[in-house]
């Protein structure tokens, strides 16, 4: 088990070392910023405050108590049941994503503690084919909830997903049904589920598991919605407000409980989970 923990951190390190320049240019403010400072700052631009994507490993690092995380992400991969080929074979696309991220698919699950409160954590990784949900992500989300039930822990899911994994066709769509079915059992078991929505939480993920948290927390800068801005404009040519599907839009419309800055998310989760510490 100790080997395993080490591996997890190794994986993160590998990923970080893959960047070979020391500086990066912020897309938002245009400043040249020192990469290490960005990383130390939770991938927030030290100059303008813009949030950059966190990898799953970085997100986990930013949330759990140091050394507490045990990876439960079994290295399963889709068997490509449709033998899908678009501009590129799906298997190739998968291999590229796996090589880029050192992940088997777009989610990492595991157990850990946040300020001492035990939980099962799932974190999506947007780099992996847009964080899309296919058979493997659906399976991991279910296994995470099953672990939460077996160990009487809270479940926290950090979403970052464009929606369905088109290349898995109906297998992908049905992951909505699958995760919702298991989520129902989690509720029956009386265990809390906190859903954290980040940029982006959309499509099939938003229309299933991510929206069914007992508490819904949006990270500042999140995008929350079902149909994308482009799809809506293409289909019905509708004018959309500037803050459409932002966390502010969602909060105003009663869709989420709270908006939290990235640097406060850890404390926020500790606070939220603390209320449920006695219910198990």
């Amino acid at each position: 088990m100790s080997l395993f923990k080490e591996r997890q951190y190794l994986r993160i390190r590998v990923d970080r070392e893959a960047d070979d320049s020391l500086w990066m240019k912020c897309k938002a403010c245009g400043e040249l910023v020192f990469k290490r400072r960005v990383r130390e700052n939770n991938n927030v631009c030290p100059s303008c405050g813009e949030y950059f994507f966190l990898t799953a490993a970085e997100r986990i690092d930013s949330l759990v108590d140091p050394g507490s995380f045990e990876d439960l992400t079994e290295r399963i991969v889709t068997d490509d049941p449709l033998a899908f080929v678009d501009s590129q074979p799906y298997r190739e696309r998968l291999r590229e994503a796996q090589e880029k991220t050192s992940l088997s698919d777009a989610i990492v699950i595991g157990r850990g503690t946040i300020e001492g409160v035990p939980l099962i954590l799932g974190v999506m990784d947007f780099r992996f084919i847009g964080g899309s949900m296919g058979s493997v992500m659906g399976e991991h989300i279910c296994r995470a909830m099953e672990a939460a039930m077996a160990e009487r822990r809270a479940f926290v899911l950090v979403s970052s997903s464009g929606g369905a994994r088109i290349q898995e066709g109906m297998f992908s769509l049905l992951q909505m049904a699958k995760t919702v079915t298991v989520r129902r059992r989690l509720a029956e078991a009386g265990l809390p589920f906190v859903s954290v929505m980040t940029y982006p939480t959309s499509g099939g993920v938003q229309a299933s598991i991510a929206s069914l948290g007992d508490i819904l927390i949006a990270e500042k800068g999140a995008l929350i919605g079902f149909a994308g801005r482009r799809v809506i404009q293409q289909t019905i040519a509708q004018e959309l407000p500037a803050h459409f599907q932002t966390e502010t839009f969602a909060l105003e419309r009663g869709q989420i409980d709270r908006v939290v800055r990235r640097e406060d998310l850890r404390a926020e989760l500790a606070l939220a989970l603390g209320f449920f510490a006695g219910v198990r």
Partner: protein, 331 residues
């Protein structure tokens, strides 16, 4: 399927000859018989071995029977229940009570419009949050009174629009799914035309999913997939094949339970026959499911959806060549 019009014309000509035959007393029966043979031959050629894209077009065919057609034939006495009790009543997703072979059931039915006027009212069959909330309400009614639940699916997908997003359409789909996951009665979903994405699945998480032979069920429209994955809208035909969205393929993949055959050329060519076949199928399935006690029904439903997914254990080569010890972590 541009040859479809030729067939329609030939059919019309035969009918004219038949009337001439009757009225004038001239014996054209042999010629008519020969023409009919020809017609049947051409029909087979056209409609047998449809490719996936042709199926998509058939599933969306403007003459295809819609939910309300089946509600009037497969079911008796549809008693519509309207409204979500919150903001409105969706006309693209209907709900109500009806009888199936005399037995009361709750019906959910996605409904497209036939005319421009009707399509405006029904948003081209695309349900809005009002519809999914109504569905949830109807599912709860089914649960409270132990009425079996039958869904008829026929939608391009949930309506994409500002108002829908403002009313949290994604969450309403999630909540409809969650209600279907827990309802303590037999549930059957029938895809009668287009099963479009989350908007279709919202009422499709059932104990038994059957599809009409030419219906489709897909995670995304072929056009959408073409535009996203091929970056080329004209690749919809390729996308249709790749998505494996036909009844036949989905049955082979183990994702649906049965297929209701349609007449050559599609359900609209002989609606009565299609409706009969559909009724027989639903009645049979319902009687099987009704034999199960509620807890077993729920356990089976749970196992079914929990089990959906295709993957294999396969350690990935990583730059630092980690040992394939991942599976051990779960033991």
């Amino acid at each position: 399927m541009s040859d479809e019009r030729t067939l329609d014309l030939l059919e019309a000509k035969i009918e004219e000859l038949r009337q001439l035959n009757a009225v004038e007393g001239i014996d054209l029966s042999k010629e008519i018989a020969r023409l009919e043979e020809k017609l049947q031959h051409l029909r087979r050629k056209l409609y047998e071995n449809l490719n996936d894209w042709e199926r998509v077009k058939l599933a969306r065919h403007p003459k295809r029977p819609y939910s309300l057609d089946y509600l009037e034939t497969v079911f008796e006495g549809f008693y519509e229940l309207r409204g979500d009790r919150v903001t409105g009543d969706d006309r693209a997703l209907l709900a109500g009570l009806a009888r199936l072979d005399g037995r009361p059931v709750v019906v959910l039915a996605q409904q497209k419009g036939r005319t421009t006027e009707e399509n405006k009212e029904r948003f081209f069959g695309m349900p809005r949050p009002q519809g999914f909330r109504k569905a949830r309400r109807a599912i709860e009614l089914a649960d409270r009174f132990r009425f079996p639940l039958i869904s008829m699916i026929d939608t391009p997908g949930a309506y994409p629009g500002l108002e829908a997003e403002e009313q949290n359409v994604g969450a309403t789909i999630a909540e409809s799914l969650q209600a279907m996951a827990g309802v303590r009665v037999p549930t059957i979903a029938v895809v009668i035309g287009e099963g479009g994405s989350g908007g279709a699945l919202a009422i499709g998480l059932a104990d038994c999913i059957v599809m009409l032979e030419n219906a489709i069920f897909s995670v995304i429209t072929p056009e959408g997939a073409a535009s996203i994955l091929w970056k080329d809208k004209d690749k919809a035909k390729d996308a249709a094949a790749a998505l494996q969205l036909t009844a036949e393929r989905l049955l082979a993949l183990g994702l649906i339970d049965g297929i209701v055959p349609e007449p050559l050329g599609g359900a609209h060519k002989d609606f009565g026959k299609t409706a009969d076949a559909l009724k027989t199928e639903i009645v049979r399935r319902l009687s099987e499911l009704s034999a199960l006690p509620a807890n077993e029904l729920l356990a089976r439903r749970y196992a079914r959806y929990r089990g959906i997914g295709r993957f294999v254990l396969a350690p990935i080569p990583t730059p630092d060549a980690l040992p394939p010890a991942v599976d051990a972590a779960r033991n």
